[in-house]
């Protein structure tokens, strides 16, 4: 390449680098589609999730709440919620602050552990901090497994971050503004040490040129068999003693200052929150088992053949199949529309053959879940997973609006043509 060409290429690359640094690209999703399909289906099933209000100003409150069921079919090779979990939220960074959170009403400031096959309610209270439009998800982080991401909503925050304040009070009455807490002290101490460290370097670098003459002198002394330490003058030693003494004095003084500033301190908190033992399994007046499950790839059609035993005193109909946060709705039973463009609702995605199940009746029902969301949410990738096991929640509705929720799961057989 010619020199002008090389120069032009370098300039373009430099400009691109500068622009890339100056123009921030905001990540708006949380990789929820990146996880393997069958692990999304067989870990946590989130439902009744509400994130509201959808538009708030800086400093205003927002609540994320809902329920999740920990799957009985949790893959045994993936560390489960029985170890350690943390109720978290995905919000594109600290665009909100979390002011409170709980699982089943028990504070979730610290991590905890859950049980498989159980149903949990959760709430996360947040306050808007930075203006913008953000996709907010509830998340459960599972130790050694990863993040189980719940359904998301777009939330718009208006106003200015300058209006945001976040003040708390310590047990000893100190008012703490967390946005800028102790910052003056932090900066002052750093500046002090930068000045002293800089002074040490200036002392040694005051002679110019420095390196080559000293290199030559060290080599000459070594060749003569003399001690190169002679290059360190008595003045150098005196200066070093002064620097060392000043440094140690400031450290001692700083420590005493810190002790006086906060005489009573505690270590960081790491206790694990305990959930009540023996939480009952979710009760349902219906038993469901899958006798056959297929996925026809060309038609994006998932079919389950179910044996349903209705032990309730009401006639039940399949209204919804929830699978990896995708809601397939039976329009003959329920009307559910997507709340925003990324709400994973297939309003007409569920078709049921076999009709309503009368009280006490055991019947065979065929459920068809058909929507492009199978593709767009990468659920069809399940056929490439090492174990093609499907799982999800089936919602049965009675005429009076009451419902029965059961987890179903089993092996899936793909149909390729």
């Amino acid at each position: 390449m010619t020199r002008p060409g090389c120069r032009a290429l370098t300039s373009i690359a430099g400009l691109a680098l500068v622009l890339a640094m100056l123009i921030p690209i905001v990540a708006t999703a949380h990789g929820e589609r990146a996880q393997q399909a069958n692990t999304r289906m067989r870990t946590l099933n989130w439902y009744d999730v509400e994130i509201s209000p959808a538009k708030i100003a800086v400093g205003e409150d927002i609540k994320v709440r809902g329920r999740f069921r920990t799957s009985k079919l949790w893959p045994e090779h993936i560390p489960s919620v029985e170890q350690r979990v943390f109720l978290n939220v995905g919000a594109g960074g600290p665009n909100f602050i979390r002011t409170a959170s709980n699982i089943d009403g028990i504070s979730a400031v610290q991590s905890t552990s859950l049980e498989l096959g159980k149903d949990y309610s959760f709430e996360i209270d947040m306050k808007a901090r930075r203006p913008g439009r953000f996709h907010v998800h509830p998340i459960v982080n599972v130790l050694d497994a990863g993040s189980m991401v719940g359904p998301g909503r777009w939330i718009e925050i208006t106003g200015s971050q300058d209006d945001f304040v976040n003040t708390v009070e310590s047990m000893f009455g100190r008012e703490i503004e967390l946005e800028s807490f102790h910052l003056k002290s932090i900066v002052s101490w750093h500046v002090l040490w930068f000045v002293i460290g800089g002074a040490w370097l200036v002392y040694w670098f005051r002679q110019r040129p420095l390196l080559i003459p000293r290199l030559r002198a060290v080599d000459e002394l070594d060749e003569k068999g003399e001690d190169a330490d002679e290059l360190i003058s008595p003045t150098d030693i005196k200066v070093a003693i002064v620097f060392l003494a000043v440094t140690l004095l400031i450290i001692v003084g700083g420590f005493a200052w810190g002790e006086r500033d906060a005489p009573i301190t505690i270590p960081l908190r790491t206790a694990k929150t305990s959930m009540p033992d023996n939480k009952p399994f979710p009760q349902a007046n219906i038993d469901v088992s899958i006798s056959e499950a297929t996925y026809r790839i060309p038609g994006r059609s998932f079919r389950m053949k179910l044996t349903v035993d209705n032990r309730s005193d009401r006639t039940l109909r399949v209204g919804e199949f929830l699978c990896a946060n995708v809601r397939f709705i039976n329009p003959e039973v329920r009307t559910v529309e997507p709340i925003d463009e990324h709400d994973l609702v297939a309003s007409h995605g569920l078709r049921v053959e076999g009709g309503p199940i009368a009280p006490g009746q055991v019947s065979t029902v065929e459920v068809f879940a058909e929507d492009a969301l199978w593709e767009t949410q990468r659920l069809t990738r399940m056929i490439n997973d090492p174990d093609s096991v499907i799982a999800g929640l089936l919602f049965f509705y009675a005429q009076d609006g009451s419902r029965e929720i059961v987890e179903v799961g089993g092996s899936l057989l793909p149909i390729f043509e």
Binding site: V109, S180, W189, I212, L248
Partner: protein, 244 residues
Amino acid sequence: MRTADQQAATRRRLENTVDMALFAVIVFAVAGATVFVMSVTIGDWEFWADWKDRRYWPLAPVAALLIFPAGLAAAFWSRFRLPVACTAVVLLYSLMRWLSAYFNFHIFGGFPLSFVWPSIFIPLAIIIDCTLVITRSVFLTGLIGAFLWGLLVYPVNWPLLAAFHEPITYNGEMLTAADLLGYEYIRTGLPEYVRVVERTVLRTFGDAVTPLTAVFSGFICTLVFYIAWGAGLVLNRQAWLKKL
């Protein structure tokens, strides 16, 4: 025919250029590499206020940070008898960390600076450099200077950190201000349990965690200093340049 004065001036100019070039190498290579290595290995202790605990923060980052300064100190001492490497590297590292805290975490990431402030290491580096000058002994510098590097990191940072460990009652629980920052300012991929910080154990010495960690850290830093110094001497051999 050039006069001796002209030759001396040329040589002086050339040597000044070498000084500047070496200075640039230190800034971009060593300090940059230090920031990179620290970020990808033990970065979280340096990124977050709620990772600065009594057990691991005064030990792991402190020992890891010593590797580059000690290695470079070996080169600068053996070649130039200049006791500046530790201070230079740590000062530049601190500068880079501030830039990273401000631009990456505060401006781009949106976290408050009070949540992501860098630790202070500069005085520890000054202590090592001064010890080297005063003793002119690598052994004593490792024994005293490097030991103090590990021993004093907690007191050096205490005026910054103490207020973050004051207790707060929050929703019926007791937290430190640092814990509260970690809870409130959302980090999606960094749940509370991921922190490698002190947890309750059945230890014999009760609550004397800080002094025990300080002494152990000093001991580890002494070892790291000798190893890194030795590596610095090996890598500093001219034979490597000839092979290149």
